[in-house]
Amino acid sequence: MSFFSNITVGQYYPGNSLVHRLDPRAKLLAMPLIMAGVLLAQGPVGYLAAGLPILFGYAMAKVPLTALWRGMRFLWIFLIISLVLQAVTYPGETLWEWGIITVSREGLSLGLRLIYRLVLLVLAAMLLTMTTTPVNLTGAMEKLLQPLKRLGVPVHELAMMMTIALRFVPTLLEEAEVVMKAQQARGGSLTTGSLEKRLGATIALLVPLLAGSLRRAEELAIAMEARCYRGDNGRTRLKQFQYRYLDFLVLLILFAFTILVGVERWI
């Protein structure tokens, strides 16, 4: 419980805001629009404009900033590394020099723009997952990807896999914790000792987890079969999604926004 409860990146945050209530399909469709805006943006106006819908979304969703910060925590390390790399490797007007390391103006500016875009993309994705329950997300995905079925893509099966994964991730994390403690009590520690010993301890954790998962999978398959599961065959869904005018309106506004951001690029 204590070890794995830290993993909360972009976890659903209950609420009843406009963003929460949008049809999950509309929210999913909004993603490529927002992303296109972020990627097309050029120049300061475009950058600001691309960020606006995301900012607006967060303001309405009323997601607490602490939850947001916790979700982004691990990302910062990655972002700072990429900024430094860009700044020192890109050739251009020297801004600052220290031994063999030179920071160029172009590199710094490119790095900052890159970070800005990445942060926006992550924020957009997090807004989606923080305001949409996983169940709705998978349901919406299955619905939206429906046309791909004709091309032979196993859409239903993929959605079912995601549902089952959602259902079992907490169970498996719990199991991982128990097995880890059990091996620790036999002297197998993942964090101390020689590399060889740590490797051994990793195997001692992974093999039981794998064996446990296989056993679970087998039992689950039997239980599903017993409950008449046979794929998509004649299956109905409890969750019915209903587009409302609002959903279209939001998508339309986003679309217009993206066009506007893009226009700046070409004129």
Binding site: R216, E219, E225, R227, L238
Partner: protein, 278 residues
């Protein structure tokens, strides 16, 4: 048993697992189960009781003999799905039989598979969750529930498709006493409303509430009858590794000491009545 409609009919059923063909997991089992009856299937580990449970709804197909559900054979692939709807099954490990990420979706799963309309599902979920007292859990993910709650959700979601027979394969063996009580209370309620129930267990005290006990050993039925009737064969049951309720064990001990103890003393209440007699 008011009605005598036979729901499940096993005719000379034998079964062997593919990898151990020389050894029969079940050996010529014949058994009739009538509507509204509650049967407890008892036996030590490896006696074949779980295998038998899986034959009832065609999860396993007999190597010889027939399993008939309301006259339809599980060998007939055409009707297999109808049979599985008629014979619902609850398994031992609550964690490994819940499919959905929310209780509500779990209750819907079987109905979704049968193509029931969303409106009808919503109604049924409302009704069954109220019956099982799990209404406030509808929006919870299963991993937040206690073992007893999980198993109740499992039973409720199997009953959501209105099966004729409910088969439970050691539903309490992984639960704590509180969870066990929850499930036994639920089963008592279902029995009262006339559900046909087959309970696989190795716990004698759970088997007591059944109308009939069927005891398996080495893939054969070795004993069957009313619970109290079966307890008269105590020595044999102990030898099989079955657990005798403590009330019976006490009677046995005192009898050996030469005391005259009636044959039907089981629970504390009956003992107190007997001991406080004048």
């Amino acid at each position: 048993m008011v009605h005598n409609r036979v729901i499940l009919n096993l005719q000379g059923v034998s079964f062997s697992y593919p990898d151990t063909q020389d050894k029969k997991a079940l050996d010529s089992i014949s058994l009739e189960i009538v509507a509204g009856e509650m049967v407890a299937l008892l036996g030590p580990n490896g006696s074949g009781k779980s295998t038998l449970a899986r034959l009832f709804n065609g999860l396993l197909i007999p190597t010889s003999g027939h399993v008939l559900v309301e006259g339809q054979s599980t060998q007939d692939e055409e009707v297999l799905w109808q049979i599985r709807q008629k014979v619902g099954m609850v398994f031992q490990n609550p964690d490994n039989q819940l499919v959905a990420a929310l209780v509500e979706e779990e209750l819907a799963f079987g109905m979704e598979n049968l193509g029931i309309s969303p409106g009808e599902m919503t109604e049924k979920i409302e009704q069954i969750s109220t019956q099982f007292g799990i209404h406030e859990l509808l929006q919870s993910p299963p991993h937040r529930l206690s073992g007893g709650q999980k198993q109740r959700v499992a039973i409720a979601s199997v009953l959501a498709v209105d099966p004729e027979v409910l088969v439970l394969d050691e539903p309490t063996s992984m639960l704590d006493p509180g969870g066990r009580q929850e499930i036994m209370r639920e089963l008592t309620r279902l029995k009262q409303v006339g559900k046909t129930i087959i309970l696989v267990t190795h716990d004698m005290s759970e088997a007591l509430m059944a109308d009939r006990i069927v005891i398996l050993e080495d893939g054969k039925i070795v004993l069957q009858g009313e619970p109290k009737q079966c307890f008269s064969q105590e020595d044999r049951l102990v030898k099989m590794g079955l657990e005798i309720p403590p009330g019976r064990r006490l009677a046995q001990r005192l009898k050996q000491k030469g005391f005259d103890i009636p044959n039907d003393l089981l629970c504390v209440k009956e003992w107190v009545e007997f001991l406080c007699l004048k």
